[in-house]
Amino acid sequence: MTAVMEKADASTRTGDVPSFDVTIRVRRFNPESAGESGVESRWDEFHITAYGTDRVLDALHKIKWEHDGSLTFRRSCAHGVCGSDAMRINGRNRLACKTLLKDVNPDKPITVEPIKGLPVVKDLVVDMEPFFASYREIMPFLITNGNEPTKERIQSAEQRERFDDTTKCILCAACTSSCPVFWTDGQYFGPAAIVNAHRFIFDSRDDGAQQRLEVLNDKEGVWRCRTTFNCTEACPRGIEVTKAIQEVKRAMITRAF
């Protein structure tokens, strides 16, 4: 199968996929190359040829597969559903597999860096443990009292809709690592944990809302959010993250007063 890109203008009607040259600047870090002054990171620049539907992930693959095999990044699904490849592209957090090169101005070098606020392990790979630890702390599972029904629990379509937005989270950490508050001391639970708490707090079947609100009432909990909206802008799933955080805050206030 040939790659296909149907575009309105006649020049591409021939079936030839237009190609263009692009420069990728990647922030490199090799933990095993200790110099005199400790382990250094550096910028590497690569020039590659890309096509209309190529994503940043394709570019990284091209670099890895044709230029420098040691370039290291995570990826799996390649279409924005597994959450492996959140990284900072031209200064903003995005998924490499969901960002088309032609949409990030390929005329200038495209910079690619690891996400911020989590320890870098190698090149674009960061240690995700702190992120998942926060996630685990908010009890991300259905908590119910009373007897299990023999069939399903009843939930109206409206009740289901109430928390739909936050069920979409793929735990990619784009939000948390875009949050200026998270960058400071890394103690803040971060938007992703709150999003996942929200998913249960507003689920009509769940009885654990009080416990989760208690957890997030922590000094490092929701109150650290300064509504900077970086998380909402960064979320590749289009989740209204800040809105979810506000809803959790309001639930806490209602509970306290």
Binding site: S41, E113, P180, W183, N230, T242
Partner: protein
Amino acid sequence: MPTAQGGTLYRGREGMWSWVAHRVTGFAIFFFLLVHVTDTALVRVSPEAYNAVIGTYQTPLMGLGEAGLVAAIVFHAFNGIRIILVDFLAKGPRYQRVMLWIVLGLFVVTMAGFLPRHLMNVFGGQ
């Protein structure tokens, strides 16, 4: 702050920059307030002392500083209201950007009302 160890600046959008501005203005106002209360306290010392200090507020340099301060307060106040609306209106987060433009609009209007008069007072007199 949006710089990292060696990395590039995070290219946040309106939300992030308005927060930076809010923080910077809050910080500035606080320190001004420390000074302002202290100098006002001089009224307890003697009218001469107070007038001497307050007199410096009337120099052009301080006049400009004062304009900056008012600008800081005006922005901080309007943006503060925006933050509150974002917090308490269900649709707040969705309209945060629009509200920021409104804040900036009001800021310009307010400053347009204040600045000419103030500057005239500072530079115009005698």
